[in-house]
Symmetry: C2
DNA sequence: CAATCATGTAATCATTGATTACATTCATTG
DNA sequence: CAATGAATGTAATCAATGATTACATGATTG
């Protein structure tokens, strides 16, 4: 019992012995190739046909697995979101300090870092014109878990008396807006007009994040050493 | 001297007397129709051909005025940006108070209000994949003037000793990121997952803006009445 | 082994951005 | 005032893409 369904586990490049008519793992490979296309050529480089080409199948084959392009892009977004959240979870695990505001900052840094390194993937999970966000439980859940994490940290911060404002929901929206805005400015190419050189982007974003977090906490000289 | 070039000033709908082969004002009308298409059907509804159709010319005609679609979209963005900044200038003129932070908040509100009422136009001037921002002096200049306005207000705030931080450039980036993030979350459809009803969006954004501005200024009980 | 269902292909459409050769009108000038 | 050349518009055509339909192939299972 509980035997994993074989499905001729993916690997087709190696043996090549299979009959080669049926791919065996097309759905997942299409998602993978679409991610690759996005990474290499931006959002406009992602087409159903190009993904099919890379997967070595006909232009119509993808439509056996996805009713339309939007559904494919939604699956791509799900994979991107999984990676995105994994990185945030990792960053939180690596943050030793238990100061809730420091932990929130760590989330923000991981968020911005991932967006900087995966601009098009970030764009895919962000712009909800090319995906069906509401129709994907996976996307909704991953997103909700990130929010819940921050919510919990804000609650703890409030209990420790760190916060200036009592409206935590508002703080949360503000925090997300700031980080989303920074990431979007990055992928939308706004930084050149802000005299921020490419090499300085990481540092600048970190400083902006600090400035924002400082504005949230009650004014105190500074955490004494 | 200084006689305005006639060019058969636009109006073609009325008289209809003209030969009807030459449009007379096609370039501007294409921009106008593209703006209308964006307004009514979102970014994906904007096509060169649709604009040509609405203008009553052949599919190839637009290419006499714009070498490619991106150039048309850039002209569309220029018009949208003009309207955008006009609204900000108006809001500043209507803000009687001379407190620089209140004036900055007024800019933020006008920004968010315009984006909320013109989501696709906002998207067009924001996403720099469909336009050639750097190739348009007009876009660069309007953008620079908004930035200069905020810079001046921040300088004044600093001189009055209102600011927590001394790094005004960083404050400016943070402010833009917050407002850009809010506007982007709006047009990208993120608010439903934040339990913010459509009717509350305006109020919520205003409160987030206040929260942010409060975080920038030095902690003082409150501006006494 | 045969039936059936999942999965892939071929052929075809409509839409779109773009180009090229040709047509028409406007404006300048002899 | 007509002729001529520059602007401006059209027709025809291409290649790429999303999508659909009829058909082919292979895997699963009774």
């Amino acid at each position: 019992m509980s035997i994993v369904k074989p499905t001729r586990t993916g690997d087709r490049e190696a043996g090549e012995g299979s009959s080669a008519y049926h791919h065996g793992n097309l759905r997942e490979e299409l998602v993978e190739q679409a991610l690759k296309l996005a990474e290499e050529g931006g959002l406009s480089a992602v087409s159903v046909r190009a993904a099919a080409r890379l997967a070595g199948v006909s232009p119509a084959a993808p439509f056996r697995h996805f009713p339309d392009k939007m559904t494919l892009m939604t699956a791509v977004a799900e994979e991107a979101m999984r990676r995105f959240r994994a990185e945030i979870v990792l960053a939180l695990a690596q943050e030793a300090d238990d100061d809730p505001m420091l932990r929130i900052r760590a989330i923000g840094r991981a968020y911005l870092d991932w967006a900087r390194r995966n601009p098009t993937h970030f764009e895919i999970i962000s712009s909800r014109r090319s995906i069906d966000f509401d129709g994907s439980p996976s996307l909704g859940q991953e997103n909700a878990e990130i929010q819940a994490q921050i919510e919990a940290l804000l609650l703890e911060a409030a209990q420790r008396g760190l916060l200036r404002s009592n409206d935590r929901h508002l703080i949360q929206i503000a925090a997300r807006a700031l980080v989303y805005g920074l990431a979007r400015m990055l992928v939308d190419g706004h930084f050149p007009s802000w005299q921020v050189a490419d090499a300085d982007i990481e540092g600048t974003m970190a400083k902006v994040l600090d400035l924002f977090v400082d504005g949230l906490v009650k004014e105190r000289p500074r955490p004494e050493p």
